[in-house]
């Protein structure tokens, strides 16, 4: 008997069974207690409430939503808002981050100073504070009545930023962005995938032209289909009464979220980009110089592509992390997924179900982001064993 206990295989099996078993028991126990507690309080469990109408408003929505819409639609609205905010602010964060990262490695003392200051300030103050700060700043812009539009088309008011825009539904705008991203991905795939290696560049170029023609048609179709009825297709903001009319209004909540997350994210991305540039051996640039390439050509053709390849794995983690940071929008009532769930819990009392939906949503989104970006990374990463660059 004792000998059996001393047997390594028996032990290993025992440990594993014990660990997994304990975990399963824990989960079951939690669920059972949860059920019992909720029943004791007379709360009905289940997902039936998703069909009930909510009765509350959502101030920013990409799709049609009214107070009589059901809960599931509210959740979809929140999810789309989160994705929208994430997509926009991560794009800006990347743009700013790369710029600042480049500034910090540019060799220009002034640019380095500004870049460093930027990073140190915005990385060392909590995001929530920055968000509240930008929000107060935006709110303190003057009221629409007092604002003259910049260049005749952009109005920066305390009530939002007005920009010229197409009169299309939010959903179709979202779909357009999605199709553009999809087009870009296919493009990348065409130029990097192993299986197209044998196809000549000229043929591939033709394919790409077809691809972008297709994307253009799709985009156009979506735009047309998503027109708002009885409005001109293209409008610019103009004064009317107390407010600006026409054009697209970006609410201060959304705008503050975008600024805060973009800048906070940019500070982190800048650091990553900087380390990427520093990891490139100077020989690469020298080889470019020796071939007579200009500074700009060396930057765009050699150093930037290399830096991006080096930092891609780190960037992926950073993107997932930044996307999670969008939940901060709740602090100024941007109706993202978390805010909608939180309001729904407050209004419906279906705590457990909604939390499950919340977590499920984020798991799906984040795993998807990581999956897509990892595919991108696989597509562009340096080929071969020699990793010295």
């Amino acid at each position: 008997m004792l000998a059996i206990l001393k047997n390594r295989h028996v032990r290993d099996t025992g440990f594993q069974a014990g660990f997994v078993g304990a975990l399963v028991i824990l989960i079951v126990a939690l669920v059972v207690t949860g059920k019992a507690n909720l029943e004791a309080q007379g709360l009905t469990s289940g997902f039936g409430f998703l069909e009930r109408s909510t009765g509350w408003r959502i101030s920013f929505s990409l799709i049609d939503y009214t107070t009589s819409s059901p809960y599931w639609l509210a959740l979809v609205v929140g999810l789309l808002n989160s994705l929208f905010l994430g997509a926009v602010s991560l794009s800006f964060a990347t743009l700013i981050g790369v710029t600042v990262g480049v500034m910090r490695t540019s060799g220009n003392g002034m640019a380095e100073l500004v870049g460093t200051t930027f990073v140190e300030i915005f990385r060392n103050v909590p995001l929530i504070l920055q968000l509240l700060f930008w929000y107060s700043l935006l709110l303190s812009l003057p009221a629409p009545r007092e604002v003259e539009p910049v260049l005749g088309v952009f109005a920066f008011t305390g009530r939002g930023i007005y920009i010229p825009g197409l009169n299309i539904t939010g959903l179709s705008a979202f779909l357009i962005v999605v199709s553009l991203i999809a087009g870009a991905s296919v493009n990348l795939w065409l130029s990097t995938a192993e299986r197209f290696k044998t196809v000549s560049v000229a043929v591939r170029r033709k394919w790409k032209i077809c691809l972008w023609l297709g994307v253009a048609i799709v985009v156009f179709a979506i735009t047309w289909w998503g027109r708002l009825p009885e409005t001109p297709f293209f409008t610019i903001p103009e004064h009317r009464g107390l407010n600006y009319r026409n054009g697209i209004r970006v609410s201060p909540e959304l705008f503050a979220c975008i600024i805060a997350i973009s800048i906070y994210g940019a500070a982190y991305i800048a650091e990553i980009i900087r380390s990427g540039f520093n990891a490139i051996s100077p020989g690469q640039g020298e080889a470019g110089h020796a071939l007579g390439l200009s500074r700009w050509q060396i930057f765009t053709r050699i150093r930037l592509p290399l830096a991006i390849r080096i930092v891609m794995p780190t960037l992926i983690n950073q993107y997932v992390w930044l996307f999670k940071a969008t939940t901060i929008g709740i602090a100024i009532s941007f109706t993202d997924f978390f805010m909608v769930v939180s309001t729904a819990i407050n209004q419906s009392g279906q705590t457990l179900e909604l939390i499950a939906i919340l977590m499920g949503g984020f798991l799906v989104i984040n795993y998807s982001i990581a999956w897509v970006l990892n595919r991108v990374n696989d597509a562009i990463k340096l080929k071969g064993t020699q990793m010295r660059i």
């Binding site: 594993q16 640019a111 990385r123 504070l129 509240l132 798991l363 984040n366």
Partner: protein, 350 residues
């Protein structure tokens, strides 16, 4: 070949025509920003306690609100007469943090002892109920002290968890490592806010009554688990950086699993993982500010309470600046220290 100061400046800032343009534009931008900020924060600002009416008239910052209500920002709801305790407690935490930057404390036992004793003193002082100190319950803690308390508790609780998670994650037994991997990946892809929210709101429903505890401690546990999942991956990275021969040599000497882990693997893994660990701790401190959203009176919330009264409700930007400064001081010094360590370790690496 001597180089003049002007030459150096020229080389650094105005080497090429492009550099000249970039530098000049940036310089103008920086000066303009700086001028505005100074104008607002100093030239046109109102200083000194209780000058609300001057503030309303002034164009610049109203530092008067800080002068009048700084104690609320720092100490929150802590009883007024007892606030010295809160202050001393904060100071102790800062000292503990500073001491752990001294290489003398860089081993598991000393570091653990330092933090545990520092934390214990902090808690006892804050909580009171002995030596004639009136008891003050957690609900009345607030401001910086609460932020520091949550932060320290998360680190102290999370670090051992992280070690356990990391060891389970790289266990040779496939089911254990896979299950742990799944748990870690899942928690890592959830936002911290949702984790805190869940532990604050949901856990009372699914836990038996005796295990529920105060909301503060539930949130700390939730945050600690979140922290542990990130830190576990960092530690795992540190362990993977070790040459395989280290563990084999220990095995060949007849050392058992715990001895190998405790004496050979972990000490080296921590050394490898020091820079990312400090980075993680910095992030943890910053993100402690999220607890305000789930209803705690931390330094963010107490900041808002400071301007949340009839008298001062116009002066929120100033209070935000003050809170930002507090965070900046802490976070900046920590991250600078981390950068210094990284350089130091980088130089010493063989």
């Amino acid at each position: 070949m001597p180089i003049s100061i002007f030459g150096a400046i020229r080389k650094k800032y105005f080497a090429t025509p492009t550099d000249i343009v970039v530098s000049s534009i940036l310089a103008v931008l920086v000066l303009w920003l700086l001028a505005n900020v100074i104008d607002w924060a100093f030239v046109k600002a109102v200083f000194g306690a209780g000058r609300r009416d001057d503030c309303l008239a002034a164009e610049g910052a109203c530092w008067s609100v800080i002068a009048s209500r700084w104690r609320i920002v720092l100490f929150g709801l802590y009883p007024f007469e007892e606030q010295w305790r809160s202050g001393v407690a904060c100071l102790i935490m800062v000292i503990v943090a500073a001491l752990s930057c001294v290489p003398y404390f860089w081993n598991g036992k000393r570091l653990l002892g330092l933090w545990l004793s520092g934390f214990a003193v902090f808690y006892v002082l804050m909580r009171g109920g002995f030596l004639g100190l009136t008891p003050v319950f957690e609900q009345n803690w607030g401001g910086l002290a609460l932020t520091l308390f949550i932060f320290a508790a998360v680190c102290i609780l999370g670090m051992p968890m992280a070690i356990v998670f990391a060891l389970l994650r790289r266990s040779e037994l496939p089911w254990i490592s896979r299950t742990m991997g799944l748990i870690i990946d899942t928690i890592r892809s959830l936002p911290l806010l949702t984790i805190m929210f869940t532990f604050a709101i949901v856990s009372p429903f699914v836990l038996p009554d005796w295990a529920v505890g105060d909301k503060l401690y539930r949130v700390i546990v939730g945050y600690a688990i979140f922290f542990a999942c990130y830190q576990a991956e960092i530690i795992r990275g540190g362990i993977q950086g070790l040459p395989a021969g280290q563990e084999e040599a220990a095995k060949a000497l007849g050392m058992g699993y715990w001895h190998r882990i405790g004496y050979i693997v972990l000490p080296q893994a921590f050394r490898n993982a020091l820079p990312p660990t400090i980075n993680q701790i910095v992030i943890t401190f910053k993100e402690t500010s999220l607890v305000t959203i789930i209803g705690f009176f931390d330094v963010m919330a107490s900041g808002r309470a400071a301007s949340g009264t009839a008298e001062w409700s116009f002066a929120h930007v100033e209070v935000y600046c003050f809170v930002a400064l507090i965070f900046f001081v802490f976070v900046f010094s920590l991250s600078r220290y981390g950068a210094y360590l990284e350089r130091r370790l980088g130089v010493g690496r063989r």
